[in-house]
């Protein structure tokens, strides 16, 4: 699988890992003139001047602080610390042309991955045809045997996804990760836009920026569409693990924006394969659960018996067709980082199409040749645990110490299926206004897709910025910040 990349552009990727100079710059051309679609913004920056930008940056931080736009860190020393969302005031701009490609690529990917999940949990044609190695699936931690042969409403597994895109040294958009479980970030996309509009209204004037704030409405429509009793009187709830979860802000944000109840596991009860909300007027049947609780905690009768976050009987109610779960359980196997390498094949297999968005070359640690190569070149690799996200369980080769590399080598040899490696890619950079200076920082992009009666991609997304100079890690848990992202109408 990897060979094709090594002989083509991928081999060059490996060789370019020395310095940030080689990364694609979103804002500047190679001659340090701003790119065409950034020229109006550049004029605004110059007109605004140092003083005004500094006060605007302060206003933005203050606004986020007062509104309580926070996320929670799970660091050892600072367990459960609430942090204000770090925000850079200069927007990132995506042209209509680029967006058309991104949108088509994402829709194609989600369609294919959804068919893949339906196949994996029913006939497993793709394994029998030898396109994906069966052992990859059967050894995957996130294959959910409990849901085999269950038909979810409208055959949709992945209703909500937040696919991470990066741009490589040539400026091509690549898929870095498919987040198909319970991806976060959409509330920050909206909050960023609200703040940006308030802080830099004049910047919008030379652009036709597409709107993103209707996301909760699209989400509600998609959720209601799934209701087994029909959309008209559908009772929808957001299921949260509770106030101590890192994304609690987002859970309450979405519930509030959609005007539905924000429930914890203890607010729901199952009777006769139906799910009910405990209300002051008695039990009220629930049709759709947008759950932000991970699979393994969802139902103590089926998954982890010690879970107090879930609802006993939920999976049976789902199996009986009395409730829709969003996303469906078991989607994790499709965003397993080892399965990720096969997504181009999956697209070709189910859709007979050429993948629109390329993936990052990926080394399988179960493959002896790949593994030997990676272990010899660890300082040039990003090594990831297949089942973790948020920047946890990851080794950034160039920034690692020999001790860390030895530790990861040992872990890989002990459990090869649990790891993959990718060459370090110098992800693209953008200017940021930091401490009174314009500085370049690396960033990525997470657009959000909603699969209801059709697949919608809201024109925008969350741009995450590595606030530390030279860093390639953008996760908010690792000190990342964000920018408003403008998709242009034309």
């Amino acid at each position: 699988m990897l060979k094709q990349f090594q002989s083509g552009g991928g081999g060059q990727l490996l060789d370019r890992s020395e310095g940030p100079v080689m990364a694609f710059h979103e804002f500047y051309r190679d001659d340090f003139r701003p790119r065409e679609h950034y020229l109006p913004m550049w004029e605004h920056i110059q007109r605004a001047g140092q003083q005004s930008l500094a006060s605007k940056a302060r206003d933005a931080q203050l606004a986020l602080h007062n509104e309580g736009v926070t996320f929670t860190l799970y660091a050892d020393e600072e367990a459960g610390v609430e942090r204000v969302w770090p925000f850079d005031i200069l927007p990132r701009i995506i042209t209509a042309h680029e967006w058309a490609q991104i949108e088509a690529g994402l829709k194609q990917r989600i369609r294919a991955l959804n068919l893949f999940l339906k196949d994996i949990y029913h006939g497993q044609r793709i394994l029998k045809d030898g396109v994906v190695p069966p052992e990859l699936i059967y050894r995957g931690k996130d294959l959910c045997r409990e849901i085999m042969d269950i038909d979810p409403p409208h055959d949709i597994y992945i209703h909500i996804s937040g696919v991470d895109l990066i741009r490589d040294e040539e400026g091509r958009y690549l898929v870095l990760e498919d987040n198909l479980r319970t991806p976060s970030g959409v509330s920050y996309m909206i909050e960023n836009r609200i703040i940006e509009r308030r802080i830099l209204p004049e910047f919008f004037s030379s652009y036709r920026v597409r709107r993103v704030e209707h996301y909760p409405d699209l989400l509600l429509q998609a959720l209601r569409y799934l209701s087994p009793r029909g959309p008209a009187d559908a009772v929808v709830v957001v299921l949260t693990p509770g106030v101590f979860n890192s994304a609690y802000f987002e859970h309450s944000f979405l519930a509030r924006e959609m005007g539905v109840e924000l429930a914890e596991g203890r607010d729901l009860v199952c009777r006769n394969d139906k799910v009910y909300l405990k209300t002051t007027l008695g039990l009220r049947q629930v049709d759709v659960v947008y759950r932000r609780v991970d699979d393994e905690y969802l139902d103590p009768l089926v998954f982890r018996a010690d879970s107090v976050l879930g609802v006993a009987g939920l999976i049976n109610a789902w199996r009986a067709g009395n409730v829709a779960l969003v996303n469906a359980p078991g989607t994790g196997i499709a965003d397993d980082k080892a399965v990720y390498a096969y997504v181009p094949e999956i697209i070709r297999y189910y859709l007979g199409e050429t993948p629109i968005l390329p993936s990052v070359p990926t080394y399988q640690m179960t493959d002896h040749q790949d593994r030997a190569y990676v272990l010899d070149n660890m300082e040039r690799m990003v090594i990831k645990s297949v089942a973790e996200s948020g920047g946890y369980g990851m080794l950034m080769g160039p920034a690692s110490t020999p001790a860390q590399r030895a530790d990861f080598a040992q872990r890989i040899n002990a459990d090869p299926r649990n790891y993959i490696a990718q060459p370090v890619i110098q992800i693209s950079r953008h200017i940021c206004y930091l401490d009174g200076e314009l500085e370049s920082r690396h960033l990525d992009f997470r657009p959000f897709c909603i699969h209801g009666s059709e697949i919608d991609v809201v024109p925008g997304g969350l741009t995450r910025v590595a606030m530390t100079k030279g860093s390639l890690v953008v996760n908010s848990s690792q000190g990342g910040g964000s920018k408003d992202t403008w998709v242009l109408a034309d």
């Binding site: 106030v243 109840e261 607010d267 009777r271 006769n272 009910y276 209300t279 002051t280 007027l281």
Partner: protein
């Protein structure tokens, strides 16, 4: 609405009301003790407070010698973690419940209560010197009043507001009944007399601990007579801490929330109403005020249990 949220709203206001009431009886006693009354011991002056808030037994557990002193009572009712009803704990619980119902109260309410809690917690983490007690109680009154004002002016009048009102008025009725019961029992008035100077101060303290002194004076020009105090505190529908006022308010809040069909709350509400229907102060005193109030407190407790059954514990029998 969610049962869990309804319960949180109810306890948010109930704990706040309790903190406010406890602060008020303490405050009045602290001021009252500045001048001494003949023949009234420290014990006689402070033990009633323990009885009012139901902390008699707890006190014996913590202070086996049973000696009642100013400092001990102030500490126990204000900040002793061994007393689950102390002001410090009540405020913590009020804030925790508000946090759980965060998206159902206004931003202004949440921010006020949160800042109030943070400030109160800072001063109550260390043992409060007695001379600072009055200042703290004044702070508690001010902040609770601010919160109640914001509830009045910024909260939607839906079920949420209904449960917030229930918590507050339920606690207030309970406290009024207890204050009257304990004080009256101690004063053992002679109905034929207009009060002695001592009675004037004692009854005055009772009215003040219900924020009703001035209003009473305007309403009754004949000095402070026990029978009038009983009438005012129990049966005046315009006095916001009277029992009848609380019962009327509970009834209105429930009408907005809606009774559960075949629930227990409607019956419990009627029982409370029945207790106060067509009755005169003189009649109550003749029949025995203490017995009467005991009965009333029991009905208030039944009312709380009914709310729990009908609204807070989801009734699983509904599923079919």
């Amino acid at each position: 609405m969610l049962s869990r949220i309804a319960e949180s709203l109810y306890w948010m206001t109930r704990h706040l009301e309790r903190a406010d009431n406890t602060a008020r009886v303490l405050d009045i006693n602290v001021v009252h003790m500045l001048e001494s009354d003949e023949g009234v011991t420290e014990e006689a002056q402070w033990r009633p407070l323990l009885t009012i808030v139901g902390a008699d037994e707890g006190f014996e557990d913590i202070y086996p010698d049973g000696r009642v002193t100013v400092q001990r009572v102030i500490h126990l009712l204000t900040q002793d973690p061994n007393n689950p009803g102390c002001i410090h704990t009540s405020l913590r619980l009020a804030r925790e419940n508000a946090r759980a119902a965060r998206d159902r109260i206004s931003n202004a309410m949440w921010e006020t209560l949160n800042e109030f809690w943070l400030a109160a917690d800072r001063s109550l983490r260390v043992k409060l010197p007695p001379w600072q007690a009055a200042e703290l109680y004044a702070f508690v009154h001010r902040e609770v009043a601010t919160f109640q004002g914001l509830t009045q002016s910024t909260m939607m009048r839906g079920q949420e507001h209904g449960f917030a009102v229930l918590g507050s008025l339920h606690e207030r009725a309970d406290m009024t009944a207890r204050i009257l019961d304990v004080r009256y029992h101690l004063l053992l008035p002679d109905l034929s007399l207009v009060g002695s100077p001592l009675d004037y101060y004692q009854w005055g303290a009772l009215l003040k601990s219900l924020s009703g002194f001035d209003a009473y004076r305007r309403r009754y020009q004949n000095g402070i007579r026990p029978i009038d105090v009983v009438e005012f505190v129990m049966l005046n529908p315009d006095f916001p801490r009277s029992l009848i006022y609380c019962v009327n308010g509970l009834e209105r809040a429930l009408a907005r929330i809606g009774y559960r069909p075949n629930g227990e709350t409607e019956g419990a509400m009627q029982a409370l109403r029945e207790q106060l229907r067509d009755i005169q102060a003189g009649e109550i005193i003749e029949r025995g005020l203490h017995e009467y109030l005991d009965d009333l407190l029991e009905r208030l407790a039944d009312f709380g249990a009914a709310l729990q059954t009908d609204y807070f514990d989801a009734y699983l029998g509904d599923a079919s």
